[in-house]
């Protein structure tokens, strides 16, 4: 009883955090029409909670930290969601086909998955970003390429089990065509672990994007983003802690919300690790 109440509390906190942040970021254009770029050199480095106009204070150029944090979320959320969507679509398709038809392509896919999972991706990302330069779309493509095999693996192993189940065999026997079997009968039953993986990977990719941007290897520093704000704020750590604290807090709360949701989903799907007594 106590357990399930804590569980639903976790879900509520996770959904509340994620929902609130997504809502604020989506509406950022309405909330802050200037895009967080309005400078007011007379109001430089105002500490937080001192003025109603700037509840999170201002940065060294007199820009409102709250506005920049909310607007900056656009980048992180877009990168997180689109990279995961891309990876999940490609990986799910590959996993379905490989698991259902088996054969040579299946073996090649699985061997390649082994190789990809062993590659040190952050290092390769640093190399490519340093040499080729990055923008948001390159980052998204890179993360999708780096992660699609995770989905392929999960979907393949689910498909391997499902294709032997009676409902699939009987669908086959009454003459349902393969694409329909895959789409209507196998995919919905293989989706649960994919959703868990997606939730956790959005969180992961937000962390990855913000670290690369922080290092100067991600999003253009002129566009407000959480990683970029942290990189700027570091210079002023001695005098203006708030410039570094709030964007980091935004990353952390977003990732925490998603992790709570992902965890809740995983327990829903796979009861074996549940903390039930």
């Amino acid at each position: 009883m106590r357990f399930s109440r804590l569980r639903s509390l976790e879900f509520l906190v996770g959904a509340g955090l994620t929902g609130a942040i997504v809502l604020a970021v989506v509406c950022s254009g309405l909330l802050f029409p200037d895009g967080g770029d309005a400078m007011d050199l007379a109001m430089r480095l105002v500490p937080p909670f001192a003025s109603l106009a700037h509840p999170f204070g201002t940065d060294p150029l007199g820009r409102d930290v709250l506005a920049r944090v909310v607007v900056g979320g656009q980048i992180s959320l877009t990168v997180g969601v689109l990279s995961v969507a891309g990876a999940a679509i490609v990986g799910t398709f590959a996993g379905l086909v490989a698991g259902y038809y088996r054969g040579v392509w299946d073996s090649i896919l699985m061997r390649w998955a082994d190789v990809q999972l062993a590659l040190p991706f952050i290092l390769i990302a640093i190399t490519f970003a340093a040499i080729l330069g990055t923008d948001m779309w390159k980052l998204i493509a890179f993360m999708a390429i780096a992660q699609w095999v995770q989905y392929a693996r999960v979907v393949r192993s689910a498909t391997l089990v499902l294709r032997e189940r009676e409902f699939v065999i009987s669908a086959h026997a009454v003459g349902v065509r393969d694409p329909v079997i895959l789409w209507r009968h196998i995919l919905p039953n293989a989706m649960a672990p994919v959703l868990v993986l997606m939730t956790l990977n959005v969180a992961n990719n937000i962390l990855l994007e913000s670290s690369l941007t922080f290092l100067g290897l991600g999003i253009d520093p002129l566009i407000p983003s959480w990683g970029g704000m942290l990189a700027d704020g570091r210079t002023y750590l001695q005098t203006a802690w708030w410039v570094s604290v709030f964007p980091g807090l935004a990353i952390m709360l977003t990732v925490l919300g998603l992790n709570l949701l992902g965890d809740w989903l995983r327990d829903l799907v796979d009861p074996t690790t549940r903390s039930e007594t």
Partner: protein
């Protein structure tokens, strides 16, 4: 066992091959470093040719790649574009510093996560279990570079206890290790807990308890040794991520390891250094994983028998 190891060795070689090809390809895509190096000064086409020749850029991709891999094997990794220092020497200086951070962080996290994870598993569903779960979720959500900055804010700027950067003395090691240690602990606690839950339901644990063995002996001798295999595997899988994290955290603390070397190289477009750093780290990661596969065989006789 022999077949298992052979397959693993094959995978390791292939991974290194893919990494070196990707890195060489990326550098190739970068365009002409000669033009960049000469940027700002008046040079003739002849000068550019000379620079290209000196850097070995006049050769075909295959020849460049062969030279790069050959150099990696012999340890002669060429010279830095900036100042012409031998890249091999720079890497030899930086690598131990990075491995030290990684190793210490791993030790700290194991020292914390093993007792905590066992406690959570034994008292499954209790207050401690839930508290550990929540705290580990929060820990997992920290961006490593931000945690590093926050530690600097507290321990260097507010309290003045620890140096904010550099690698002089023990005090400089504390914050980088703390950063990575905390983040690793958040993941490892959950791994220990899950592995322990599985082990604790085994019959030999019931037998050990019914023999009247003390709880500490049951947990740390009988259960923990049997958890070792999944734990070691996971730690191996994490190692790449750990190195990636250390590289990022090094940047915040100006720790003169492989990460700082790489980012300085990025800033000055010093490709030989960047190439060497990434390749060497990839090889280290692959070697650690291979080593773990070996340990696997030693720890679990079933793997050998197969």
């Amino acid at each position: 066992m022999a077949r298992f190891l052979l397959r693993r060795l094959g995978l390791a070689v292939f991974v290194v091959l893919v990494v070196t090809l990707l890195v060489a390809w990326a550098v190739r895509l970068s365009g002409d470093p000669a033009v960049m190096l000469a940027e700002g000064s008046t040079v003739t086409e002849q000068d550019l040719q000379n620079i290209r020749k000196a850097l070995g850029l006049d050769r075909s991709f295959a020849a460049q790649y062969a030279g790069f891999v050959g150099g990696m094997v012999t340890g002669d990794m060429g010279n830095s574009f900036m100042g012409g220092r031998a890249v091999g020497g720079m890497v030899r200086q930086a690598l131990p510093l990075t491995l030290m951070l990684a190793g210490l962080s791993l030790l700290v996290s194991l020292a914390l996560s093993i007792p905590l994870g066992i406690h959570a598993a034994v008292h499954r569903g209790g207050v401690a279990d839930q508290a550990i779960r929540i705290v580990s979720l929060v820990g997992l959500s920290f961006p490593n570079f931000w945690l590093a900055i926050m530690l600097v804010l507290v321990f260097s700027i507010a309290l003045g206890w620890l140096p904010p950067s550099g690698a002089d003395g023990v005090s400089a090691v504390i914050m980088p290790v703390m950063t990575m240690g905390v983040i690793l602990t958040a993941t490892n606690v959950r791994l220990v807990r899950t592995a322990m839950l599985e082990t604790l339901s085994a019959q030999y644990i019931t037998v050990a308890r019914s023999k009247g063995l003390g709880e500490a002996v049951v947990l740390y001798k009988h259960a923990l040794t049997n958890c070792a295999i999944p734990l070691i595997t996971y730690i191996g899988l994490q190692f790449g991520g750990l190195i990636g994290g250390v590289v990022v955290v090094e940047r915040v603390f100006n720790w003169p390891g492989m990460g700082s070397l790489a980012f300085d190289a990025v800033a000055s477009r010093d490709y030989p250094v960047l190439q060497a750093v990434v390749t060497v780290l990839a090889v280290v990661i692959v070697l650690v994983n291979l080593l773990i596969d070996l340990v696997y065989g030693v720890v679990d006789p079933r793997v050998r028998a197969e």
